[in-house]
């Protein structure tokens, strides 16, 4: 079972591992901030306050989409690695290789957008990346996709190493997921939730990455040999299978930080009951079946696939509402939680995830999708669980680590306490700007907005400014904090942490 000691000894990293982790985290922080700046630029431009030329708007949009999703994956992979390595043997080379491949992929993407004028968006929807009507070249499209291939290969490599470690320790995935306890038997509370979650996410995301790889290889073949024509509907299915799974996997990887850290701050164990195991099994199954909800407006798709997409979207609410967020709330309730930055951010992340699911599930309903698909409703709901959910998990994890380097006392300075409400308030205003836009039929992904649409754009821009301000503070604070050497516990580290309670 996850320990209730704030900074247990088995989380002290050997030097090389610590340096690698810092590379991950500092890179992620810098990228998040840079991508947010682009986001703010786009939003203000829609509001009419900044005149980004349309070609730059769409280049920024491509960079922001790919950059944010990739960075979210980078940082949550670090979370999964950090906790999983306590239970199974992970090889540092795999973790390092993932980072190196990510950076190579990132440079391909930056090169394609900045030098090659690529603006075919992060979804690389065939045939747009190779059919731009002169805005960018076929080569630029191909380099962008090669970047994806690099990032995907790194992620697969990391999962492969994790899978090997899990199988070596637990024999098979079924036992790692705790399936032997689904119907009876006493659940071993020492079985780590991090292992259950890691196993679930690596199965589902590997399938998604393989679908993405097939789509990429086909698209690249077509880019090099245009005579190879692809079936646009087939490739759309493959792309959205990957395109749904990959960002969503970041939530499941980030969630490991909640399972591991929240009980340390509440001082109450996070009990693993049968519903927990059922929820993870359900998650692995539904998340593989849910991608057709991105193709609800493709009427050429078999209708049963669309119905399945809606049903799976709705089912997706259960594991969160009934188990994960519910479990977190039970864990917090009358716990005597010590409020500091990591604790606050962990709670915020659960709110962001749970609340963001509401507009998302609505959008996964065919009748609703008919009027909401490709409106700003969509960035409204995914920013909800990405910004307030995933990013909060990542920030909580990093603030927690900063405490380890700072006398083993979790951070809670006046600046921290002041900036979090700015982040939350700005975030909500930003999100409701998008959702309000969706309500009034403002399309997503548009450089130029008509006057009737700018009200929600302006509201959203103001919120975005606050988020960027708060994030600027977080990034400076965390980078400085993370780069300190880990504090050597004077005698007894736990005693120190206890004293701070």
């Amino acid at each position: 079972m996850a320990s209730l000691v704030l900074y247990p000894d088995d989380e002290r990293l050997p030097r090389a591992a610590g340096i690698t982790l810092n590379f991950y985290l500092v890179t992620a922080l810098v990228l998040f901030l840079a991508m947010m700046a682009l986001g703010l630029g786009m939003r203000s431009s829609q509001a009419g306050w900044l005149g980004l030329p349309p070609d730059w708007f769409y280049r920024f949009l491509s960079l922001h989409g790919a950059g944010m999703v990739g960075t979210a994956s980078l940082v949550t992979t670090a979370i999964m690695w950090f906790f999983l390595r306590k239970y199974v043997q992970l090889h540092l080379w795999a973790f390092v290789a993932n980072y190196v491949l990510f950076i190579i992929g990132l440079w391909c993407i930056v090169l394609s957008v900045m030098a090659g004028s690529y603006a075919g968006l992060w979804t690389i929807l065939y045939p747009l990346p190779v059919h731009s009507q002169g805005m960018w070249s076929r080569e630029a499209g191909a380099i962008f996709m090669l970047g994806y291939l690099g990032i995907g290969m790194g992620q697969l490599l990391f999962y492969l190493d994790a899978a090997a470690g899990i199988i070596a320790r637990y024999g098979n995935f079924s036992r790692a997921l705790g399936l032997q306890w689904l119907f009876g038997g006493e659940i071993d509370q020492a079985h780590p939730k991090a292992v259950v979650a890691s196993t679930g996410v690596l199965i589902a995301n590997t399938l998604g990455l393989l679908a993405g790889t097939v789509a990429l290889v086909m698209s690249l073949a077509n880019a090099v040999y245009p005579s190879i024509e692809l079936d646009p509907l087939l490739i759309k299915n493959l792309i959205y299978w990957f395109g749904h799974m990959y960002p969503n996997a970041t939530i499941y990887m980030g969630c490991i930080a909640v399972y591991e850290l929240l009980p340390r701050y509440t001082g109450k164990p996070f009990v693993m009951g049968r519903p927990f195991l059922w929820a993870w099994l359900a998650t692995v199954l539904y998340v593989v079946l849910v991608f057709p909800h991105h193709l609800l407006m493709d009427f050429a798709q078999p209708r049963w696939l669309s119905v399945m997409g809606q049903l799976a979207s709705w089912v997706g609410g259960f594991p969160v509402f009934v188990v994960t967020a519910y479990g977190a709330l039970v864990n917090i309730h009358r716990s005597g939680i010590r409020w500091n930055m990591p604790a606050r951010l962990l709670v915020l992340s659960m709110f962001g995830w749970m609340a963001g699911i509401v507009p998302a599930i609505l959008d996964g309903t065919i009748a609703v999708n008919m009027v909401m698909h490709n409106t700003q409703w969509v960035p409204g709901h995914f920013h909800f669980y990405m910004l307030l959910g995933v990013l909060s998990m990542a920030l909580a994890f990093m603030f927690h680590l900063v405490g380890q380097r700072h006398g083993q006392v979790p951070p809670d300075s006046g600046g921290d306490r002041g900036s979090l409400p700015v982040y939350l308030l700005g975030g909500l205003v930003f999100l409701f700007g998008f959702l309000g836009g969706g309500r009034t039929s403002v399309p997503r992904r548009m450089a130029q907005h008509i006057d009737a649409w700018t009200l929600t754009d302006r509201i959203g821009s103001i919120g975005a400014m606050l988020v960027v301000l708060a994030m600027l503070y977080f990034v400076v604070r965390l980078v400085i904090g993370l780069l300190r050497p880990v504090a050597q516990a004077a005698g007894d580290g736990d005693g120190l942490a206890d004293a701070a309670r």
Binding site: P54, D55, L125, L128, H131, Q133, M135, P232, K236, V271, G273, P275, L296, M297, D298, F299, A300, R303, S306, V307, Q310, L311, W314, V315, G317, F318, F321, V322, L329, V330, I332, H333, R334, S335, G336, I337, V347, F351, A355, V358, P359, L362, T365, I366, A367, M370, V371, H373, N374, T375, G436, G438, R439, T440, S441, P443, M446, A447, H449, A452
Partner: protein, 181 residues
């Protein structure tokens, strides 16, 4: 009530409810319970979890039935019996729509396709809200059925990003008053 407004209200209510639950739990978080109270609370939490599951399950079954009973996606390979058929072709960056006007009060079938990349065919009503949409895809034709009762000037707007000319890719569509024209 306009569908979008209803959805907006449901979402706002749902998000607020989640927020409220968090606020309540957070307000109770700082008071540690003693051992006996903890055991009692744990048991209550388990029971409540069962109720949450039951209520959601009911919502799932009822909601699925209500929203899937009349699927807004028409069967694609049969005669749909519309009063008017409108052929729609999207291309970078234009719409070809024929005919581009129908009389009010008709059931209209739009047959939508594309000659190059993916586009999105969205029909905006005269008051500026989306009424219905479908994807415009190369090599496929999507058939969409819409009841058009209110006369006025409708707008067809591309709703799937298709390159630099995406935002201006729109066209007008007339629904004429019965007896007019």
């Amino acid at each position: 009530m306009i569908l979008q407004d209803m959805i907006g209200s449901i979402a706002l209510a749902g998000v607020s409810l989640v927020g409220l639950i968090f606020l309540v739990v957070i307000s109770q978080a700082g008071k540690p319970a003693d051992e006996a109270a903890r055991t009692r609370a744990a048991r209550a939490a388990g029971r409540l979890q069962g109720w949450v599951f039951a209520v959601l399950l009911l919502g799932f079954v009822g909601g699925s039935w209500a929203t899937l009973r009349n699927l807004p996606i028409p069967v694609q390979d049969v005669e749909l019996g519309a009063d008017h058929v409108v052929e729609v072709v999207g291309g970078m960056w234009y719409w070809m729509i024929s005919p581009d006007s129908v009389p009010a009060g008709s059931l209209v079938e739009f047959r939508v396709t594309s000659v190059d990349v993916n586009h999105g065919f969205a029909l905006y009503g005269p008051e500026g809200r989306i009424l219905a949409q479908t994807q415009a895809m190369p090599k496929y034709t999507n058939r969409l059925l819409v009841d058009l009762d209110t006369p006025g000037t409708y707008t067809v707007q591309c709703l799937e990003y298709c390159g630099i000319g995406h935002a201006p890719m729109k066209a007008s569509f007339q629904v004429t008053a019965a007896g007019g024209n």
